[in-house]
Symmetry: none
Subunit: 219 residues, 4 copies
Amino acid sequence: MNSSAAIADSDTPLRRRRKQARPQELLDAALALFVEKGFAATRADEVALRAGVSKGTLYLYYPSKEELLKAVIAHFLSARIAQAEAALAEVSGPVAPALRAMLSAWWMALYDSPASGVFKLVITEVRNFPEIAEFYLRQVVDPAHALLGRALQMGMASGEFRRVNIDDAVHSLVLPLIMLCLHRHSLGACAADSRLEPMRFIAGHINLVLDGLAQPAPN
Amino acid sequence: MNSSAAIADSDTPLRRRRKQARPQELLDAALALFVEKGFAATRADEVALRAGVSKGTLYLYYPSKEELLKAVIAHFLSARIAQAEAALAEVSGPVAPALRAMLSAWWMALYDSPASGVFKLVITEVRNFPEIAEFYLRQVVDPAHALLGRALQMGMASGEFRRVNIDDAVHSLVLPLIMLCLHRHSLGACAADSRLEPMRFIAGHINLVLDGLAQPAPN
Amino acid sequence: MNSSAAIADSDTPLRRRRKQARPQELLDAALALFVEKGFAATRADEVALRAGVSKGTLYLYYPSKEELLKAVIAHFLSARIAQAEAALAEVSGPVAPALRAMLSAWWMALYDSPASGVFKLVITEVRNFPEIAEFYLRQVVDPAHALLGRALQMGMASGEFRRVNIDDAVHSLVLPLIMLCLHRHSLGACAADSRLEPMRFIAGHINLVLDGLAQPAPN
Amino acid sequence: MNSSAAIADSDTPLRRRRKQARPQELLDAALALFVEKGFAATRADEVALRAGVSKGTLYLYYPSKEELLKAVIAHFLSARIAQAEAALAEVSGPVAPALRAMLSAWWMALYDSPASGVFKLVITEVRNFPEIAEFYLRQVVDPAHALLGRALQMGMASGEFRRVNIDDAVHSLVLPLIMLCLHRHSLGACAADSRLEPMRFIAGHINLVLDGLAQPAPN
DNA sequence: CATGAATGAGACTTCATTCAT
DNA sequence: AATGAATGAAGTCTCATTCAT
């Protein structure tokens, strides 16, 4: 705006841009390493090295390794949950086809992104850092569960689905997809398994559960 | 049972008897702590303390913490897989009811036992110790997957089930139950969740998937 | 000496300057302690303490106690051997007087320096770390033996010395002087011995052996 | 003597014999290991194992590892010193030939026996256990030095030897032979050295020094 | 006497965190 | 703001010594 600002800007444009990008770069590096090796087995130097900064710089942005962990978990969630809520809010008419399409797309995108590792991180570390449990339940589990519960409820109300325990059905639908993300970052990273084709499984599983929910009860 | 065993028992001096029980006690303690805190965050002294021995004694039985981990993973698996194979081998006639009964019982018992924690341990540590991947795949994943695959195959051959991808179906059936065990030792250990009733979910999920597999394809 | 070095020195911040001096300080401390107490009986903390740094700093410079040992042995040798080679290379004319002067000076200086302890270190530790054997033989024993062997050979060729086994003569000349260094760091450090006056013995022994080599063979 | 003793004897003749042999077996094992690996780096179990007994038994005979070390050093010395004194006491007539014969025989036998390792042990450990210094000086160094000093004195008195510092001459004579024993248990145990033929060197060195002492002063 | 299971102090080494530059 | 040298608490593992059998 004024000349001094202009000078400051032109003085360090790259530095400023890098400085602003630092937190994201550190979070990316931390996520990758925490997911791969576990929180306790990841050294602070490794995170800094992967983010391209020195060890000291890491501590300029996060006061401790533990705070970095919490930031990682908090960061890689919010946007996606909100996005799912928006997508389901627009559904009108038969709920099953909409769920099929929307869930497949959402989980496939998540599976393919580094954010899929957050599940492993939460599973692994939540008992050592109870604050994480509360945060994760409030910010992720509760909204997502409620979202899907409402969708299934709508399907039952409309007669598309038969009446079963809604909470169980949500879990039947979602737990294997979470498990798939866990697998990607554990056994799946060690050895390929021809029996498990992730994209096919995501679609197939959603179909299977929605079919299981559909009228009439068989067997 | 037989007299020689009885004599051996009463003959066995206390030292000898304790020595024989040590490995099991150490494995129990190690499983509980590794599952709760993670391998890297568990101190060798803690394991020893929980097993009621000194730190040095632990190293009399396992040459390193890592070997202890491997022993834990190898130990809490074999018997249960074999038992499941035996149970399914006896099935004749309609396969769906047998699966319902047998799977429910097997998973409920596993869920309630400390062995359920091994899943968390494998998920968490397999990338740091690649040996574990091979062992686990060969000794647990492969046999169990083959077992269930054969059962579903029989159901399709007899017309009980419609034809879907068998591998996916096995995963749809099993992954949520593994996820349930993971949950028990992570979030579930931090906060009760009234939406998830483990025993109800085990039965409900098995029903849901088997229903989803049943003829005719709905929707 | 030159201006750029002077500038570099005065420019160098304290941290940098200390970092450059660290290896030498650590090697000095390690030599003193390893020679005094033995490698196995010296604790890493002691070395660090004597060098004026913390335990962790030691490991910033040497990755393990064993590598520190190897560095100590490698360090306190090279210069002196090279210096001896240079001194003997200049000899022309009668070899005996030159040897008398040069050997006396060289061994007296060595005896008085901490480097004399390296002999004890090698004697003591070589069987536990076979790498040391190869290094020491190639870098110290072989060059030094060859050097003296050539000198005695010259003396025999010129008729100054009578013909005896050259290797034995080298050993007769050198082994007591090494033994004197060992003594300084073992029994000699515990109790004074009026019978052994180091400087007198160095000169006396060299004379005795060169006299023993001189023409004609007596007795 | 009496019947109970007879019974005891016939009761456990083998055991008694082994029990009496135990201290010697333990000392042999300890000497070999202490010389090879050093005192601090030798584990008590290793000594017991090499002696064919259990770890506990070692402590029945020696109250601590340190006491075992002292016993080892004290044990492998006495007889040989006494024997040397007896041999030199008988000398009459020219002393040089007698010294040549007697010293060669004595050092060759010592070099070939495990007792040669004691020198390394003393050199290595004397600073950690000052008691050893006093014992070794009184029991070994002083008598042996006095013995040889008297012999050289006789040679000078009779005109066989020219007059030099007697203490230095004793050291010139003896230190290389000690050094040879050290070498056998350090570098010599790691790599053969064709330049050093022990038996040839023992004889050659003794000749060289006695020649160096002989009349007239050359050079 | 002899054993060997058990102990726990103490060694080496790592790594989260600090701070002078 | 950024660095990286330095620290020292804490962890894994060893081993001299004890003692119940």
